[in-house]
């Protein structure tokens, strides 16, 4: 049970407060409702580049990290297809510094040329380090455009190409900020050794004077239903073959989400899971297998993937995956097995409440997609999933015509 208070400032900023006096720290989480899906198809990678720029100095504060480090605070951020999320953990005594910093960069960035140049380079290095210089690094750069032809989920947060980032101009950066980085488009969560009256005072002082901006309306193109199976084969300088199967599935906000999540757990959560036992231990076709949801806010993907053992044919490997997926479609899951994955979910949720930062992030994302109170009702949704629901969803999702398969093959095996 995560107890919290919610209030909305005059400028539209939603503020959520959760008290936890077992820690001397406070987590301050600012979620902006903007992600890679909001980018222009010719200017991708922007939301992520912007995340970097947010640390390059705001209008009144030349450096973000130093004043924070000076009070024993720590911070980081991440960008996804849906959101950009910034978080600070700080000792309670110096909480006001976090408010000073976050509110100033919500107010306006410094927009220095040097900052843009440096971060462009840093992001380019990140592109190299993560996507190009690692074996299998470019896998998702290939899989997403295979599964999505229309919806912006077709590109990754790093962007379609380094050129988009290299060509980013200051005026584009400023326009992006104006549109998305405003109080009416943000959710602030403060969790830890705080009381609601304290937070109210601080937010009224630091955040309320910021002009509200406009809550932007999303009007994204809808991905048309996939009607034919899609396949793509690439050869790379990697030691082993890998297969990725992406099935279209529901949105995070759809009621079927919980059923889908439990299906992924039945398939690959823990050593007793179906794919692990059948494909890794018994049939010995893979060294690793995985099944998981993308968790996207709009209609996302159900991913099934495996790393083939040397000498195994792709045909046999793929057939074994299909056989397991057919099993869950054809035969209703038994009571005990379903109870097992429900117990695992319950355990995960309880463990996740150990961390004040985790709680803050969960409250923020729950508030974004619906209502922060959902963090407390999540478990109920999982517990009410029935074997019939599992079977129905599996049959809906695991259709060949709904699948995009990437065969990522080793050059050396050919």
């Amino acid at each position: 049970m995560i107890k919290f208070d919610r209030f909305i400032l005059k400028n539209g900023l939603t503020v959520i407060v959760h008290s936890d006096f077992s820690t001397p720290l406070v987590a301050v989480n600012v979620l902006y409702d903007v992600g890679a899906r909001d980018e222009h198809p010719d200017r991708t990678g922007f939301a992520h580049l912007f995340e970097h720029l947010m640390f390059g100095g705001s209008v009144n504060i030349p450096r973000f990290d130093e004043p924070l480090e000076n009070v024993g605070g720590e911070n980081n951020a991440f960008t996804s297809s849906d959101i950009t999320n910034y978080y600070i953990t700080i000792p309670r005594v110096n909480l006001e510094t976090a408010f000073w910093l976050e509110s100033d960069r919500m107010l306006s960035l410094a927009f220095s040329k040097k900052s843009l140049d440096v971060q462009r380079n840093v992001v380019s290095q990140e592109f190299n380090q993560v996507y190009l210089n690692q074996p299998y690094g470019d896998l998702w750069l290939l899989l997403k455009p295979l599964a999505y032809k229309v919806h912006p989920y077709q590109w990754n947060t790093i962007g379609k190409s380094l050129d988009h980032i290299r060509q980013a101009k200051m005026k584009d950066v400023k326009a992006f900020f104006k549109k998305y980085y405003c109080p009416s488009n943000a959710i602030l969560v403060v969790a830890g050794n705080v009381t609601t009256p304290d937070v109210k005072k601080l937010t009224q002082k630091w955040f309320e004077p910021i002009p509200s901006g406009k809550k932007h309306k999303r009007d994204l193109p809808v991905e048309p239903k996939q009607t034919k199976e899609r396949k793509k084969t690439v050869y790379r300088n990697v030691p082993y073959d890998v297969i990725y199967k992406a099935y279209h599935t529901c949105a995070r906000t759809d009621p079927e989400f919980y059923t889908n999540d439990l299906i992924s757990d039945l398939l690959s959560n823990g050593k007793s899971s179906r794919l692990y036992q059948s494909l890794v231990k018994k049939k010995k076709l893979f060294s690793e297998v995985n099944a998981y949801l993308s968790g996207d806010i709009d209609k996302g993907l159900f991913i099934v993937t495996g790393k083939l053992l040397k000498g195994v044919s792709m045909k046999d490997a793929e057939l074994s995956i299909d056989t397991e997926l057919q099993k869950i479609c054809k035969k209703k899951v038994d009571k005990d097995e379903l109870q097992k994955v429900k117990n695992k979910i319950e355990s995960t949720l309880i463990f996740s409440e150990l961390s004040v930062l985790n709680k803050a992030m969960n409250l923020a994302s729950a508030e974004l997609i619906g209502n922060a109170e959902d963090v407390n009702t999540e478990i109920e949704h999982y517990l009410t999933v029935t074997p019939e629901m599992i079977q129905e969803q599996a049959q809906l999702v695991f259709k060949k015509t709904n699948c995009s398969t990437l065969y990522y093959l080793s050059k050396n095996n050919q």
Partner: protein, 430 residues
């Protein structure tokens, strides 16, 4: 009404003392020392067994690692699949970790299921049999992962660097090679397990919602003489450290767009007097985002996505290293800057304001590192295994608060001279 001044940082409060929560301690009937942190808001518990069973205790490559990982793959009572089903059914989790000095076996469970999950932990620690067919599957999968990792510049750099500074014969420099995966047998694991996973060779740390009932149950399961070692084995003789003669090395990887760089040397461990001072020096130099390395090589020059330095403490020794992945076209320039920063830190006295920022940052880090039952347990384990007590943290805190710029320069001069470093580049250097 006060006009809001956004240019001025709000008042800063310094943290002058920190209360370190210490564990309750118990001794099981057979002498095993047991420590409990009862804290946190949740009705769950982590039970960790710390065995002196890391790779420095093995005679044959991969023994320590494999013996640890295969604990859950079959006992005298249950098969691998049965164990997996039971552990998963209760939403519990068994964490297995083997490092250079220590090996850990931890159970994470909700309190309401502990009567069902603790017996599983007992079974895998005492009765593991390392079935040959399970070992075969494990080795095949590990071998595959090893081959994939061997393509990554930072994986190669990490392994090879330690080999160069400690020597390939020394446990801290030894790395598994491909043929090792074909040589290890179930009998090797059985004998390693017998020699190292016993009551005379471990201590236990509990964290979460701990009560007397749980300690009693723990004593019932683990406090017997059944798993005490009957005959004490002679400890393994550790060879001398043998640092590579050459001062720098390039391992070429064609087609690499980034190089992994490691620069460093053998140093000492946390029982040494200067260790705390080194921790402050290291943080200032490359241990946080505002460090000399980050500010120069990432934020100013944009040569890398990340650069840092670290001091590592091991039971028998320790080491210092700087690490980064840099574009091949800027590799030489980045390395030049690293040496510039090494020279600067020992020849130019640090400004008081910069040192103060580091001290404040480290105080916050310290607070974070003792926040919550799991963090408290980790802090404890990491000193107890060295035979140290909480004086270690009191000294660390005092050092953070009182160290001077002069002392920083002294330490840099004594320990981090750029000419005493070993340099390794994996990738390419243009």
């Amino acid at each position: 009404m006060e006009i809001l001044n956004r240019t001025k940082q709000p008042k800063i409060f310094s943290i002058n003392n920190v209360t370190l929560i210490k564990p309750s301690d118990y001794t099981l009937d057979n002498g095993i020392k047991c420590f409990a942190f009862s804290a946190g808001t949740q009705d769950l518990i982590k039970i960790q067994f710390a065995f002196y069973a890391g790779s420095s205790h093995q005679k044959k490559a991969l023994s320590a690692f494999s013996a640890n990982k295969l604990l859950t793959e079959g006992t005298t009572k249950f098969s691998s699949e049965e164990i997996a089903n039971k552990v998963d059914y209760y939403g519990s989790y068994i964490e297995l970790m083997a490092e250079k000095d220590m090996a850990y076996v931890s159970l994470y469970t909700l309190n309401k299921h502990i009567k069902s999950t603790l017996p599983l932990l007992e079974d895998i620690i005492k009765n593991s049999i390392f079935p040959e067919h399970e070992l075969t599957i494990f080795l095949k999968n590990q071998k595959q992962e090893f081959i994939t990792n061997s393509e990554k510049v930072n994986f190669i750099a990490r392994a090879k660097f330690n080999e160069f500074i400690f020597g390939s014969e020394h446990p801290y420099g030894a790395n598994a090679i491909l043929s090792d995966f074909d040589k290890i047998k179930s009998s090797d694991l059985k004998s390693f397990h017998k020699a190292n996973y016993h009551a005379n060779n471990c201590f236990i740390v509990l964290a979460g919602s701990v009560n007397q009932e749980i300690i009693k149950t723990l004593n019932c399961s683990f406090g017997g003489t059944d798993w005490k070692l009957k005959t004490v084995q002679s400890s393994i003789k550790i060879p001398a450290i043998k640092t590579n003669e050459a001062k720098n090395y390039l391992i070429k990887k064609e087609k690499a767009v980034q190089s992994s760089v490691r620069i460093g040397k053998v140093l000492f461990n946390k029982t040494t007097k200067d260790y705390h001072g080194l921790q402050v020096l290291n943080t200032l130099f490359g241990g946080y985002f505002g460090s000399r390395l980050m500010m120069n090589i990432r934020e100013d020059k944009g040569y890398t996505y990340g650069i840092g330095s670290a001091i590592i403490s091991l039971h028998q020794s320790g080491y210092f290293f700087i690490t980064s992945e840099v574009g091949v076209d800027v590799c030489s320039k980045a390395i030049e800057e690293i040496y510039k920063e090494l020279k600067k830190i020992r020849t130019e006295k640090v400004k008081l304001s910069e040192l103060t920022t580091v001290k404040n940052y480290m105080t916050g880090s310290f607070l974070r590192s003792i926040d919550g039952p799991f963090a408290l347990a980790e802090r404890f384990t990491s000193i107890y295994e060295y035979g140290l007590d909480y004086e270690y943290y009191e000294n660390l805190f005092q050092t953070i608060k009182t160290i001077t710029p002069t002392k920083i320069t002294e330490l840099a001069e004594q320990y981090l001279n750029e000419n005493s470093m070993f340099e390794l580049v994996v990738g390419n250097k243009k």
